[in-house]
């Protein structure tokens, strides 16, 4: 059995930042493994540990810089990785269809039985790649999965999942494999990479692939969405902000709270 996990290196902006054109100035960005993908990686590794002969492969669309992040997944137990990059992919915004097209080419090569993605990427938060990919490769899917019965999956080839709906309600769904599941945070407890894992990750393969390697051309990855502006949202806030030392601000807040009857005996 083969499990493919999509992992994205996402940018996080620091507290204070500047916008340069249609992006946040690079100086204020920190890169990390997407939070949701960390849970997807953990789920795949747990599946591998529970079954026999399960290979876990991760794939990313990203520049060379992303290798550091991919290594984190390798250090946590992913067997090998694929990194797709090409000048033609270096756009402000890769839309969902474009990413699905690239991943589809990888899926056609790798033929995984199960694909795990995150529910959303923490940076541009489309929340769409996994389901679009499933449709594109003609597989079943389930979005926002916060529970997966691993034993049932191994025994029956059916993903018995909980989908986390709004308001504390979960939907119980059975999905036939091959399938794509988009993984929600909290489904498991992502491990920290062990020292041994980190050492082993150094010798694991991260195969670089261009569009041509995947049988694609620049024309196949022309996004239909264009980022035309980025700005800090105008604050609609009329919040009263207390300034000063912790002692002073706490005292000011305390008097407001008392006025509201909080803490009064």
């Amino acid at each position: 059995m083969k499990v493919l996990v999509t992992v994205k290196e996402v940018a996080e902006v620091e507290d204070d930042f500047e916008i340069d054109g249609t992006g946040v100035d690079d100086r204020y960005l920190e890169y990390d493994l997407n939070e949701w993908d960390d849970y997807a990686v953990e789920e795949a590794v747990q599946l591998q540990e529970a079954g026999d002969d399960i290979e876990v492969v991760s794939v990313t669309i990203g520049p060379e810089r992303a290798e550091e992040t991919i290594r984190m997944a390798l250090a946590k137990g992913v067997d090998r990785a694929i990194r797709v990059w090409d000048d033609a992919l270096d756009q402000d915004l890769l839309d969902t269809a474009t990413k699905a097209r690239v991943f589809r080419a990888v899926v056609e090569e790798e033929e995984p039985d199960l694909i795990l993605t995150g529910v959303q990427a923490g940076d541009d938060a489309f929340g769409a790649t996994g389901v679009a990919l499933a449709e594109s490769v003609g597989q079943e899917w389930a979005a926002v999965v916060n529970q997966l019965d691993i034993d049932h999956l191994l025994a029956e080839n059916v993903a018995r999942v909980h989908r986390e709906l709004e308001g504390g309600v979960e939907e119980l769904t059975d999905v036939e494999l091959p399938a794509v599941l988009t993984i929600q945070t909290g489904i498991n407890e992502p491990r920290y990479a062990s020292l041994r894992g980190i050492r082993q990750a150094q010798s694991k393969e991260i195969a670089p692939k261009t569009l041509a390697d995947l049988g694609l051309e620049a024309g196949d990855v022309e996004s239909s969405l264009f980022l035309t502006e980025m700005y800090e949202p105008e604050s609609e806030s009329d919040a009263t902000l207390f300034e000063g030392s912790a002692e002073e601000t706490a005292a000011e807040l305390a008097s407001v709270l008392r006025e509201k009857g909080v803490g009064a005996e």
Binding site: T22, A143, V169, D174, T185, A246, K260, G263
Partner: protein, 320 residues
């Protein structure tokens, strides 16, 4: 291609969800801009009852798809595809809900439509320009769609709900799904997050977020709650980490709370969190990041380190 707009309503366990009425407003806004009609689709469940509720001001036609009871994405994708062929709309508008995320991307993919998700605003000028957020609401962007047709999902709570009833035409849509292509089975629902405490009953909530850093620091915020006679709640990562039980989680997938006072400690104010607490009478935020979106909805705030401010507050209220 017509200039019409097709909006897909959402319901669960017998009730239309709020976003359905917001979709009517958003869909009408778009249809006014494109110069077309607004078609609303309601798929599965008590479609006739739903159609009556959806005969709202601004709706031209409600299409009912009488097949199955609850949401099933395979049914939805097929039904929307068939309706798309029938209506030939320029835009398909869907909710950015959990179920929306489960079928909208597949609809877009199948119909080869560009997809914009989680729109908080849009304009139409021969093509769609949408406003969306990035980086956990720290920046806003405009996204231009280079296509005459588009699929878009809208964020809940951004458009007002249409509530004025008006007679729309209701059409029963003749729909025969390919049953072999319905490969996922919804087997039931489960309520989670019950337990000893009901945070939605509390008058004062002290809510802790990822800014607390370590499990053992939760106790500090608990002491503040005790000193204030308040109940402790949290954002999602605290529950994901297993530091507090699920019944303490505020937000889209947790509880919706409307206390008199909500004190957010080390919480950034992500949209899914805010969905659960924006109805609080007074919102207080303590956060080191002056750009944290929580300050946009706060009434009072301290830009400061919770590890310095919270102990002072505890002392103010004579706590231990």
């Amino acid at each position: 291609m017509s200039a019409d707009v097709l909006a897909v309503a959402e319901h669960r366990r017998g009730d239309l969800r709020d976003v359905s009425f917001e979709l009517v407003t958003a869909g009408r806004e778009l249809a006014d801009a494109t110069g077309g009609d607004l078609h609303v689709a309601v798929i599965s469940g008590d479609v006739d009852g739903f159609a009556e509720e959806l005969s709202l001001d601004g709706v031209d036609v409600v299409h009912t798809v009488d097949y199955g009871e609850e949401f099933n994405h395979d049914v939805y994708v097929q039904a929307v595809e068939a309706l798309y062929d029938e209506v030939d709309p320029t835009a398909v508008v869907m909710p950015n809900s959990v179920n929306g995320l489960d079928y909208a991307p597949a609809v877009a993919e199948r119909l080869a439509l560009p997809l914009v998700t989680d729109a908080v605003g849009f304009e139409w000028d021969g093509a769609l320009t949408a406003t969306r957020e990035m980086y956990g609401s720290k920046v806003e962007t405009t996204v231009e769609v280079e296509s005459e047709r588009v699929a878009v999902t809208i964020r809940g709570g951004e458009w007002p709900a249409e509530e004025t009833h008006d007679g729309a035409e209701v059409r029963a849509f003749d729909f025969e799904p390919d049953e072999d292509a319905i490969r996922s089975t919804v087997t039931g629902f489960e309520e989670v997050g019950a337990g000893d405490v009901d945070i939605s009953e509390a008058e004062v909530l002290v809510s802790v977020g990822r800014g607390i850093e370590e499990e053992e620091n939760i106790e500090l915020v608990q002491r503040l709650a005790d000193a204030l006679g308040a109940t402790l709640s949290s954002s999602r990562p605290i529950v994901d980490n297993g530091w507090l039980p699920k019944n303490r989680q505020v937000g889209q997938s947790g509880k919706v709370v409307t206390p008199k006072v909500y004190i957010a400690v080390g919480i950034s104010g992500a949209v899914q969190h805010v969905a659960g607490m924006k109805g609080a009478e007074t919102i207080v935020a303590i956060n080191t990041d002056p750009n944290a979106p929580i300050f946009d909805i706060a009434d009072y705030g301290i830009v400061g380190d919770l590890f310095e401010v919270v102990p002072e507050l505890i002392e103010e209220f004579g706590g231990e």
